[in-house]
Symmetry: C2
Subunit: 378 residues, 2 copies
């Protein structure tokens, strides 16, 4: 299959790498000649020569005849995506046109204003839910989409053969395809991605002027909550602006609950019911987050092991676990504030907990004497 | 040293286990005879017989003479801690009295109202920053305090010998002692613990009514932000109520910034500067969180490896890393939505990145072809 990618940043170049590895014929186009050349040099595809005759100089020309691409993928920044999609629909009158933007409803509206009904049927919006802290082709990797959700937004007017082509391409990258209505997609990412990003940034922001002696008390809880606060402001500004209605709606609900907490804190002892309610509602929402592989949340048994923070110790630990033939479902490492000690939480299915503890103790590992199950972090 | 522990829940029983393991003479007391017996049965100490003559039946009576304890540790729920501390100061006129409550200023005020000046000098407030999702003696473990910060609040009136005793006891549990003013402690935990808890709960709460197809898009970012949303409402209600002023103050600052984001989202394209600012301020605060072992944040190189989710694979991976004699600074595992594949991010010091990648590739592991450093998650 011939694929033409417009925009060779992180996503475009990564897609080129992934599809080239699957023997797709990939051509690349970017308004920046430097970015275009870099992506090609990395192996993401061949540079697009005007008119579509950019014949792949690779392993012969079997199959491909140098004609128009079957799929054109728009991977530009979100603010120019709509115009680029419209132009591509016009330039390639037989091709299916898709994109990788992380907000779908407003983009579809913009495209609808720019093109006719029949052209619109050739556009299928996508959102591969993959990314990195780094941007640009230099950060591209062929496995970026592997095992990540790839959302496809089609409707009843979408021709089945075109939808099939896009599904095939998405699955060729190793992604897991999910079909969603654009509005449901946007509402979902507001809750599971955009609002968590805003709030993580706000929590981290409160540490800006905290003295060192205060931030020294930071534990794993704070680190988890603020990890994504390290994200790129430019990228997130475009994402939040593009999904402003959905994000605002969720933030307003959140603010209402925040205000109840603030009021309860002001009122003192009599109002603790509102505090308990806020934490309990959080429990309820937490329980809805799916576990591994899209399954329902699983309760794992967690075995905690203390290890010296020296080379090879972790290797020995996991070798010992491997020798017991027990599968590790999840793991987490925490560090001592000023000691050379690590605390490793290993999650396993409850049936194997006792065997794991007995086995590790017999090999001299330091683990708690009482084997207590706690909620697994899936 | 003789230690008397009042309150045998998770913290009291864990402290008893830790100190007993270090050959301290520990006696236990709880208003619940069942809880008291359970802690004793688990090995946390001997049950307190009235009058202090609860002679330890263990390894002889060398040193100890069955008299009053040197330190009394109050480990009751926060709402009865002040009265219990005051009673203990009266009951044991020579002992140093300490506690483990997670809020210090309001507790000190309450104790001050209940006891005289000279008695107050025998009280030294503490906050060992350790806990679990589970509560009660049944969840106790001797390593609960290992490698965790143990905050001690003393002032210029605190006798040096008493302070020294408390430090010695804290360090005997494996904890790292930090000396802080109570107000600074409370301001710190508001920012690094209490506010992150509130906000994680609020984010999770927004998922309560999200359809399954929406929560199916949940990724590692959401899981990180909401992990502590699984915490116990009863415990957190007491903690938040006890530190209401500091928590409220930080939440008000956070709400001001939240309102700016909400306003910017409402205003549309012209107001994206406010969105960029919110994310950038988050970057700034994030950079203040210390890394491992209380050091400044370190930039690690992250190597990502794809592994099949089968028993032993992780063991083989860490064995192979161990064979290269490279120390793993941190690791993180992510899962595919519906595939049997795991993505492992291994953080190492940048100088060893190339060696690690070359070594793992030569053993057949699947890693990205381009070696790019990204910000380490310390």
């Amino acid at each position: 299959m011939r694929i033409h990618i417009i925009g060779t940043g992180l996503l475009g170049a990564s897609l080129g790498l992934a599809l080239s590895a699957q023997k797709y014929q990939v051509s690349l186009e970017d308004t920046s000649p430097t970015a275009q050349q870099l992506a090609a040099d990395l192996g993401a595809g061949t540079i697009f020569a005007d008119g579509g005759n950019d014949c792949n100089g690779g392993s012969g020309s079997e199959g491909g005849n140098g004609g128009d691409p079957q799929i054109v993928v728009i991977a530009t920044p979100p603010d120019v995506a709509a115009q680029t999609i419209a132009t591509a629909l016009e330039t390639y009158p037989d091709a299916t046109v898709t994109d990788v933007a992380s907000v779908k409803t407003s983009l579809l509206e913009s495209v609808r204003e720019l093109v006719g009904r029949s052209e619109l049927d050739r556009y299928i919006g996508c959102h591969p839910m993959a990314g990195r802290e780094k941007s640009g082709a230099i950060a591209a990797r062929s496995d970026l989409f592997t095992a990540r959700p790839w959302v496809i937004c089609s409707d009843e007017n979408t021709p089945h053969n075109r939808l099939g082509e896009v599904v095939t391409m998405a699955e060729a990258t190793g992604a897991s395809v999910i079909h969603l209505d654009p509005r449901i997609h946007d509402a979902a990412v507001a809750k599971v991605s955009h609002v968590p990003q805003v709030v993580a940034s706000l929590v981290a922001s409160q540490l800006r002027h905290a003295p060192l002696e205060e931030v020294a008390l930071a534990g794993q809880g704070l680190r988890d909550v603020t990890r994504i606060a390290a994200s790129d402001p430019r990228l997130w500004t475009q994402i939040l602006a593009g999904n402003s209605e959905e994000v605002r709606s969720v933030l307003l609900d959140l603010r209402t609950e925040l205000d109840e907490v603030i009021t309860a804190l002001e009122m003192g002892p009599g109002a603790t019911g509102a505090l308990a309610k806020a934490i309990a509602l959080g429990n309820e929402g937490y329980d809805r987050i799916p576990g591994k592989h899209g399954q329902a949340p699983t309760k794992y048994a967690v075995v905690t092991i203390l290890i010296p923070d020296t080379p090879g110790t972790l290797a020995t630990l996991f070798k010992d676990i491997g020798d017991l033939n027990i599968n590790v479902e999840d793991f987490r490492m925490d560090h001592a504030p000023d000691q050379k000690l690590g605390i490793v939480d290993v999650s396993v299915v409850p049936a194997t907990q006792q065997e794991l503890e007995t086995g590790l103790l017999s090999k001299g590992w330091q683990i708690p004497e009482s084997a207590i199950e706690k909620e697994g972090i899936a």
